[in-house]
């Protein structure tokens, strides 16, 4: 009996500890890493994030000479922040967003279409050798976008099988 009373006293001393979370917003800690947010204006399409992602979440596909599609799948991202760390243009920020529960996995995707300038001599242009060369980016890459698969293979030429050729008849 006395032990129960003691327990009740301890509980009363502690007071109410339950957080009012679903009814009131919960602030995240300052250094919390949530969902990465991609800034398309700053992205230069170097592919460093794709090469450094441990979960191989960021897929690249060069649909033509000037346009590169980058797709962040978001489903197995561990929010490690390596993509934001390696990005030379600081185009990726780790936001404090954690309310990402969804009933469809595709809601987590982010897709960027990056415009790539071309060099008149080599057809492909990158900035002067430096940190980007260490990211092993050479040539064109063809990840398997429909299957969501990361293919580590790059070619020095653009594979045109994906693009059906349009025949324009002129008289």
């Amino acid at each position: 009996m006395i032990s129960k009373l003691k327990e009740a006293v301890i509980c009363l001393k502690a007071g109410k500890v339950t957080l009012p979370y679903p009814f009131a917003a919960e602030p995240v800690p300052a250094r919390y890493r949530g969902r990465p947010i991609f800034n398309v204006e700053r992205c230069i399409g170097c592919g460093g994030c794709a090469n450094n992602c441990p979960a191989r979440e960021i897929l690249l596909s060069d649909v033509c000479q000037e346009i590169r599609i980058m797709r962040y799948l978001g489903q197995r991202c561990t929010y490690c922040g390596r993509c934001a760390d390696v990005c030379p243009e600081h185009a990726i920020t780790m936001s404090g967003e954690f309310e990402t529960a969804t009933n469809d996995k595709r809601d987590l995707q982010q897709e960027l279409e990056v415009f790539m300038g071309t060099c008149q001599r080599c057809g492909r242009c990158f900035t002067a050798p430096g940190p980007l060369e260490q990211l092993m980016m050479k040539g064109y890459r063809q990840d398997d976008l429909p299957a969501g698969r990361w293919v580590y293979k790059s070619r020095s030429f653009l594979q045109s099988e994906g693009l059906p050729d349009i025949e324009i008849e002129l008289d």
Partner: protein, 178 residues
């Protein structure tokens, strides 16, 4: 009538079964954190049970492994009919970092149908509570697929959907706008 009653009563008292099919225990700790007085989900009638036969909701953690996929499937089949499956953590949602290793089959939804995904490694307890709130219909989901473009590239070859056939000539419909 009984099934309607079941549907209405389902939201009021969710009994969860906690299934780990090969995770690292990080998500387990967060799920148990949700059940403590700090996040007190018993307010919403959520209770942890030890058997899938008593459960309405299965909380899956960890990827489906070669060794545990069959057990996971059997646990799913043992649950009574109105049932939900939550994939908690990036392993259960997408297979985790080792999604392509020899022992990992992949995400949990390759083995059993998954209704809700809570990504994160591990997700915060708040994120799990939010996922439950989404499932109960208390709040709407906040994420949506994002598609961003730097610029519209005005060459017909790259926009085959904008080409039109006009009396034996192929015309690029956006041409006058450029």
């Amino acid at each position: 009538m009984l099934s309607k009653l079941c549907q209405r009563a389902f939201k009021k008292s969710i009994w969860v079964y906690h299934a780990n099919s090969g995770g690292c225990n990080g998500c387990d700790i967060e799920v148990l954190n949700v059940l403590t007085p700090y996040y007190d989900v018993e307010r919403f009638g959520i209770k942890l049970v030890g058997s899938p036969r008593h459960a309405d909701v299965m909380l899956c953690q960890g990827p489906a492994l070669r060794s545990t996929a069959k057990a996971l499937e059997r646990a799913y089949q043992a649950m009574p009919a109105p049932k939900l499956v939550f994939a908690i953590g990036s392993c259960a949602c997408g297979g985790g970092i080792w999604y392509d290793s020899y022992s990992v089959i992949g995400p949990v939804d390759k083995v059993i149908p998954v209704d809700f995904y809570v990504p994160g490694c591990p997700p915060r307890p708040e994120a799990i509570v939010y996922g439950v709130a989404v499932a109960l219909g208390l709040v709407d989901k906040k994420v949506a697929p994002v598609k961003l473009k730097q610029l519209e590239f005005p060459i017909a070859r790259y926009h085959p959907e904008d080409l039109e056939c006009k009396d034996d000539m192929v015309v690029y419909t956006k041409l006058d706008r450029i």
